[in-house]
Every structure is written in structure tokens, then in C-alpha cells.
Homo-oligomer: 301 residues x 2
């Protein structure tokens, strides 16, 4: 690993963030832009290369890492499926390499964000780390003995689809009862809509209603908390981490939810369990993915 500046790329379903990242991890000024509707891999790679070139005037890059919202093969070069981009079986590392003239490594976007928090954020110093990101859906990333847990097919840590109430609410994955179907932002809003007949409120607004005594809102928020507490307890019971990082848009914008989940997990994990795990808020926000992708890029130098 050389002490050079690499390019971190974080591709989301709707926007892309590209930033130069020096060895110590403080990212330079990032370029953020929208994913054009229906963009194919070639088109997006072209736009990324244009932005990289504009950033590159001041920097010399030696490699690039890209977080992609989908299932990355264990070669870390092939995107198998990205549902929100509607891409399948794309040799995306090769494509980016041809446009950027740099070696490229791919990772699932949430795994990359977890690695970012591990190396540079709230998870620093924790060789065993669980990251739970609550946004529209629920994603996760696990670090075990310093290494990202990818699993046999690169599909590990899809924690939003761990079962909370088997047979319960239908999740976007088609199964019934996943944690995400109770605690993902989309489902918090949808469920309140179903119970109260009032659509379109976001989780923060529903939390506010719960605080004001709205019974439907309280029920939705209590179930979301229970789903997240159960998820965190189960992951800790399986992995025995030093820290659990809670982040993502819903969690970052509802500190009360964070506190409720932290309190719930602490209650469950004390007593006979006596776990010393720390539950902390993510620190890097939108930079987590870029920084994790950059850490991976440094790994292939």
C-alpha cells in the first residue's frame, strides 16, 4: 500500500459522490451529482470519469474504489444485480478502469460505508464491528477480526432482511416479517399511512406525532424500535462486537430513535449477558461510503 491519494466513489440509487482521499482519510472537496434516470453502466461511468478528471487537476490518483448499491461478486469486479439501477451482470470495474485509466475495486455500497466508519469514523479501533444503517431500507456491514464479512457469494450482512416477525408485514424483498418491513423508513411511513389513513409523512414527522400522543404513530415507532433492538441484539449475539454503529438517514435525523434503540439494546444485553459492547452514532454521514471505497482502493495498490 502506497501513501498516495485515491479516488473514492459512492454510487447510490439516485446520486453519486466522488472525492479524492489522501492516506489519512480526510476527503478532499467532493463532486456530487444525480444519477440520470435510466442511466446505463457506460453512461454513468462516463459521467464519473468527467468528474474525476475535474477533481484530478489538483490530484494524482493511483486507484479508485466504488461502492455500488447492489450485489457484488467475490471477485469485487462484477456487479451481479443492482435493483434500484436495474443493472444485471455488469463487468463494472473493467468499465470504470477503461474510462478512468486506474485500477478499480468494487464493493456493495453499505459494506463500503461500514468499512469507512471502521477505518475513519465511529468504529475506529473496533476490530469487531457491527454497522446498522437505517434509511429508506435497512443495510448493514460487519467487520470481523478487522476484515469485512462478505460471505460465500458477497451477499453477507443483508441485515434488513433478518426476520423480526416471521409471517408478518410484506417486505420489498417479497418475504414477510423482515426487520426492514417494520423499521425501514419506507415501511415506517407506509405503515403509518395504512393505520392512520394519512400518507406521505416521513419517520421524523411520525416520531413527532408519537411524542404528541398519536396512538397509531406510537405503535409504528414502538414496533420500529423493537425491530431495531432485536436486530442489534441478534447481531451482537452472533458476532460479539466491540461497537455497534447506528447510522443512515432515518437514524441521523431522529436522535430520539437512536436513544430509544440504544437504551433497548443496553437493557437486553446486560444481566446474564454482560456484554461490554458500545452503541454509538455514525460519524461520517455521506462521506462514509466514499471513505470506505477509498480504503478498498488503497488495498489493491
Amino acid at each position: 500500500m502506497k501513501s498516495s491519494t485515491v479516488l473514492g466513489i459512492d454510487i447510490g440509487a439516485t446520486k453519486v459522490r466522488v472525492a479524492p482521499v489522501p492516506p489519512k482519510g480526510e476527503p478532499g472537496k467532493a463532486a456530487t451529482f444525480a444519477v440520470p434516470a435510466g442511466a446505463g453502466p457506460g453512461q454513468l461511468a462516463d459521467i464519473i470519469a468527467e468528474h474525476a478528471a475535474s477533481l484530478g487537476k489538483k490530484h494524482q490518483f493511483d486507484a479508485a474504489g466504488a461502492g455500488v448499491p447492489g450485489h457484488i461478486a467475490n471477485d469485487r469486479r462484477t456487479l451481479l444485480y443492482a435493483p434500484n439501477l436495474n443493472w444485471r451482470d455488469v463487468p463494472f470495474a473493467e468499465l470504470l478502469e477503461s474510462k478512468l485509466s486506474l485500477p478499480v475495486v468494487l464493493e456493495n455500497d453499505v459494506n463500503a460505508a461500514a468499512l469507512g466508519e471502521h477505518r475513519f469514523g465511529a468504529g475506529r479501533g473496533a476490530g469487531h464491528l457491527i454497522c446498522i444503517f437505517v434509511g429508506t431500507g435497512i443495510g448493514g456491514g460487519i467487520i470481523c477480526a478487522g476484515e469485512l464479512v462478505r460471505g460465500a457469494t458477497g451477499n453477507a450482512a443483508e441485515i434488513g432482511h433478518m426476520l423480526f416477525r416471521p409471517g408478518g408485514r410484506v417486505c420489498n424483498c417479497g418475504r414477510r416479517g423482515c426487520a426492514e418491513a417494520y423499521a425501514g423508513g419506507f415501511h415506517i411511513s407506509a405503515r403509518y399511512g395504512e393505520l392512520a389513513g394519512r400518507e406521505g409523512l416521513n419517520p421524523g414527522q411520525i416520531l413527532e406525532l408519537a411524542r404528541g400522543g398519536d396512538e397509531n404513530a406510537s405503535r409504528v415507532i414502538e414496533d420500529a424500535c423493537q425491530a431495531l433492538v432485536t436486530l442489534a441484539v441478534n447481531l451482537q449475539t452472533a458476532f460479539d462486537a466491540q461497537k455497534i454503529v447506528l447510522g443512515g438517514g432515518v437514524m441521523d435525523n431522529a436522535k430520539e430513535l437512536f436513544e430509544k434503540v440504544r437504551e433497548g439494546v443496553s437493557t437486553w444485553l446486560t444481566g446474564n449477558w454482560k456484554s461490554q459492547v458500545q452503541i454509538v452514532a455514525s460519524e461520517l454521514g455521506p462521506d462514509a461510503g466514499v471513505l470506505g471505497a477509498a480504503a478498498l482502493a488503497r488495498g489493491i495498490l
Copy 2:
């Protein structure tokens, strides 16, 4: 690692198994003996050494590994707590070393059994492996990228205490709703006793009653299956293994339960999930722990 014969020791709550294990893993004739009631660490180490000496007449041992039913520190030399033996903070590797005159490594007994299945049994060839053992309680062991997952404090894979119905039945750990409180052998029997007023039946007998139409038995068995299916699905969602090994006394002696769980897991993991994981029965039975402990012993040579 030398290609020598090592000593595998599997200490349970009630009995101990000691066997010579050559490099290829087929154990020699084992000595099995009961743990004397209230035995302390020194007394048990003495008895183990006597048996090892009798086995050793034909063998030269270079190291020993011991599976112990408790929480082993990450130095793999200190037993922190073994509830069923009522031992706490015992430098048990040092104690065994002084009696056996061999280097000794410790591991949790269930982790050792999982490692045995990984190296020599049903989990051979699976670098990513989940083992679920259903006996009186439920224990587990996870292999991730070829390595045993021990966690930050050696307490990983305590999977019987992953939550199935938070707030539900009281588990032996003191929490409510653990998987073990529905699917461990002790709790299957206890719950049937509570519902039917008929104590002392074992899980196999309760399965037989369920088959004959007994409603209480059916309810207990269905819930046990659902708990095990949920547990396996959640572990697979977190770890993305190639194989899930189901074993332990209850599972080994109730093939119908194994088939029900296998079918349930396959149903959940197909569809959008499309996992290629294989669900297989453990192969090594009572030799799993001895073989895994021996594999660890070979690792310290």
C-alpha cells in the same frame, strides 16, 4: 504444523471424551468417562491425564486441544465461566499442560464441534459455514473465510440466545424469547409439560405425539421448528454461508425435525433471496468436539 498425533479432549457438562487424533482426522479409540459431581478443575485435569496416559501407551502426542462447555478468553488458555461445571476464571490450559506435559489450547465446546464438522465432517469444503447444534440447549459455531468466528471476547455464535419472540418464554439465561426457550430440548419438554400437564417426555416422544394428532405437542413442535427456521434464516442472511450443518442430540434423534427445518429454511431462502446454501445433517456425532479440539491442537504446533 507437524503431521503428528495430537490429543483431542471434549469436556461436556456430564462427561468427557479423550481420543488420539492422527493428521487425517480419523480418531483412535476414545476414552469416555463421567465428570464426577462437583469436580474442580484440578481433579478433572488429573482424571484426563490418567486416561491420556493409558491411550498414550500406543501414541506419542505433541499437543492437546480441549473443548470446554463455557466462555473461553481470547488467549484460548483461560476459562472465564462454565455454568454447568460451576467454574470461574480458571487458567485451565496451564493446569492441563502441567498434568499432560503437552502444550494445550482451549476452545468453547460447541465452537470446537463446529470446527470438527468444518475440517472432517459435514462442513468439509465450506469456507463459510454455519453449525446449529440442538441438544438440551442450542449452541452454534460459525466459520467465516475458513476461520472460527470468536468475536471480541470469545463469546460469538451464542446463537441459542438470538431472540425469536422478544418478551416471550423465559430462557435459562434469564431473558425472554430466546430461540433456545422454544427449540432447545429442555424447553421443548418443559413447554409440553406446561401445556399438557405431562412432565418428563423427551422431544422425540413429543414429536411422536404430534404425529398422532396431540394438539399441545403439535403446537410445541411447530414453534420449535419456526424458531429453528428463523434462526437459520437469520444466520444465513448475516453470514452468507455455503452450508448450514444441523446437529446435536435432539436433531440427530429426530430426523423428521431435521426435515421440517430443512424444508422451512429452503422455503424462506428461495424466491427473491435465491441462496444456494446447502442444509445438511452433522456427520461426526460425539466425535465432532474431539476432532475440532485436535485441529486446534495441531494449529499450535
